[in-house]
Symmetry: C2
Subunit: 285 residues, 2 copies
């Protein structure tokens, strides 16, 4: 093999996340050859034509030739892919996933003989679109990535994962997997459900689409944006994080009830207090 | 007075909406002189320094010298300002408000002797920021504006209002005021409450602000953005539109309950159906 500056990386799942990760790392010069793996032949072909992958290969063959394997498939398929990847990679290669839930996966892989080669990551980045055509190299720039259970990863694997994230401008933080899932329920997953719900409520009442078009401003568009998200990606996230999600939904319903109560009693001061309390999010974000 | 291409316009309320309207109309060459009126002297001074207004004057004096008066104050102050403006403007001048609720105001002004000079408008544009510093000339470009009860406005006033909106690239639609308020409850006001509520729920549980910073991606930021909105602006909107808002909140709570039920019973197919249903918003927006 010719001398290369970057490594050979396999990306399993050539959609928004896997595709953007590949494009970003190529642009940064951190990887020089990308082997793509995807269960959908049309996604594989599109990824090839978009430069997301330089070749398409079966999982085991691709992993055997890679210094890093990145798994970006829906979370209900992560375990099977990660086990196959860990079984196929050379010693010292990194195997990493990008899923939005981490607790179940980390539990399932805790006793795996090659656990040390695995890094459990969750990049806090995405859009409402999916598939290879949605991928773009700037998706991760300046964004956060959470790495879970770093103590169970070998130093070599962890260092390699961190250098990949650093190469594309991401900021890393560490968390245990259980805490990650609870925080993710509130800070990431809940906003998807509230957005889906806003879409449902408006569509239920506004049967005349032109009315929505006449009145939808940028505020509504921004709040309902995530309602366009992929069910295939989000169904297993919600189900795997069910306990935390139910708690978050109940907390949300309770706060909504405070608003409703203040409104029903026409209590302007209570409405003011609730809004000023919520305004605090502006000091953080 | 020297020959001018544009008109003299008074803007009452020099915040995000009034300020942006002034800047956009000046940029378009549709107004040549803007008189500013604001209850807060520091807002007036800032608006003057930002070029939003060319001079500051008391309401009656400003109106008497204007061919158009635009009122962009919180909706609980609209009626008093509109009555004062209608009382002070020359015959043939346009008086228009920009408030987010229209039914109560149109009722209150229905029998006003100068009702014909009034145009009831609601531009579907805004940001989560407020005050003169938040104003920018591009706010209204390509956005929608709803004009209510156009039959009660004189042709001269209506034509002038439409030409101002057209000059800054807005698309006009017409609606009766009662329908406007109901549609606005769902398509505009509800998303503010769901966003405030998301902020409240996350702040209630995530006491460590750094955790929010570590995990907040663009999806959360987009969905919670409106939680930064001004209580002074939104309190009277929610209160004036209380009946419609309660209906919208109940519809929202009902859809949220469908999600909760599907999640609690781990019914993946029901979750899929709900998300695919909500995805339909993507075909409209």
């Amino acid at each position: 093999m010719a001398q290369q500056q970057g490594i050979t990386m396999t990306v399993v799942g050539l959609g928004l996340i896997g595709g953007s990760f590949s494009l970003a790392l190529q642009e940064a010069g951190a990887v020089s050859h990308v082997i793509g793996v995807d269960a959908q032949p049309e996604h594989a072909a599109l990824a090839l034509s978009l430069g997301i992958a330089h070749e398409i290969a079966p999982l085991a063959e691709a992993c055997a030739r890679s210094q890093a394997v990145v798994v970006a498939v829906p979370v209900d398929r992560c375990l099977a892919v990660l086990e196959a990847a860990l079984g196929a990679v050379p010693a010292g290669a990194l195997v990493m996933d990008m899923g939005s839930t981490k607790h179940l996966l980390c539990q399932q892989l805790a006793a795996h003989p090659k656990r040390g080669q695995y890094v459990a990551a969750h990049p806090m980045a995405g859009t409402e679109y999916s598939g290879p055509a949605a991928a773009f190299p700037g998706l991760f720039q300046g964004k956060k990535v959470v790495v879970c259970e770093k103590g169970l990863s070998h130093d070599e694997a962890l260092t390699q994962a961190l250098s990949l994230f650093q190469a594309i401008g991401m900021k890393v933080s560490f968390m245990d997997a259980k805490s990650h899932d609870r925080h993710a329920a509130y800070i990431s997953h809940l906003s998807h459900i509230t957005s889906f719900t806003l879409g449902l409520a408006v569509l239920e009442v506004e049967k005349d689409e032109s009315r929505i078009l006449d009145m939808a401003g940028s505020g509504f568009a921004s709040t309902v944006r995530l309602a366009k998200s992929s069910p295939a990606m989000w169904r297993p996230i919600f189900l795997q994080n069910k306990t935390n999600m139910l708690e978050a939904l109940d907390q949300y319903a309770q706060q909504l009830q405070r608003f409703r109560q203040a409104l029903e009693t026409a209590d302007g001061e209570a409405l003011d207090r609730l809004m000023r309390e919520a305004n605090a999010i502006g000091r953080i974000l």
